[in-house]
Amino acid sequence: MSQALQSRRTARGQDPTPRSSLDADAVRAAYRRWAGIYDAAFGGVSAIGRRRAVAMVNRLPGARVLEVGVGTGLALPHYLPSKRVTGIDLSAEMLARARTRVQQRRLANVDGLLEMDAEAMAFPDDGFDIAVAMFVASVVPHPRQLLAEMRRVVRPGGHLLFVNHFAAEAGPRWWIEWALAPASRALGWHPDFAPAALFEPEDQARAEISPVPPFGLFTLAHLPN
């Protein structure tokens, strides 16, 4: 996925110009290739982060939940039945797997699965109580635009949650990042993704940030809207 990385780096360098469709196409192509083995290859290492984020969603008030980058729907069975979940993703192949999961597990609280660009959502303002984006922020071409859209579709007083790998500022985590680098590239992440790429300084100061095992490789960030 060096091509995807390349195009995203170019796009980020040019922020805030609109990205070319090539970026979305490259990300979509990566996930089309990975859809079949995503759960086996990545489901394990990301499981704790996913569980923590869903547990936090379940504890927060409000029933209307948006999962941005729902993928194959790995998180969907873990939401409380009282949470009404809508999931979006850019990859039709991943969504097809999510739909199969919803049918097989009879997840009656999943209101819908939609193919959508997280940076230009087809939802009105203030329609959700909670939006959660797991392993998404470092994949989208313009993370700040993702944040702006999540802010828009969540009501004031609602909650935004992110689980992501953020670059280690210091310490011995580099070897884990190095070990995961091939998978990271394939999934369109980049190991040098810094919190500042997503958050304005005032957001970063307000966000509740907690490390997630294994090895604190992932971070759960909770930002009140």
Partner: protein
């Protein structure tokens, strides 16, 4: 499309959940959408686009939408 309603309902032409319709807007204009049941499309008059619904999943991407003729 006059016999559309006599087609067996397969995954491909599965209609959209009405609850979903209530929470969707055009991703470009953020304006309202109309559901064209016969063609299984979501119409944005303001944008002049018809968003397809495939296998019950609305594709809310302008680059995948059909241009409406006027």
């Amino acid at each position: 499309m006059s016999d559309a309603k006599h087609e067996p309902q397969t995954a491909r032409n599965a209609p959209i959940d009405p609850r979903l319709l209530e929470i969707l807007v055009c991703p470009l204009t953020k304006g309202p959408l109309e559901y064209d049941r016969a063609n299984n499309e979501l119409i944005s008059r303001k944008a002049g686009l018809a968003y397809p619904v495939r296998d019950g999943i609305p594709i809310m991407l302008p680059e995948e939408a059909r241009q409406l003729e006027d």
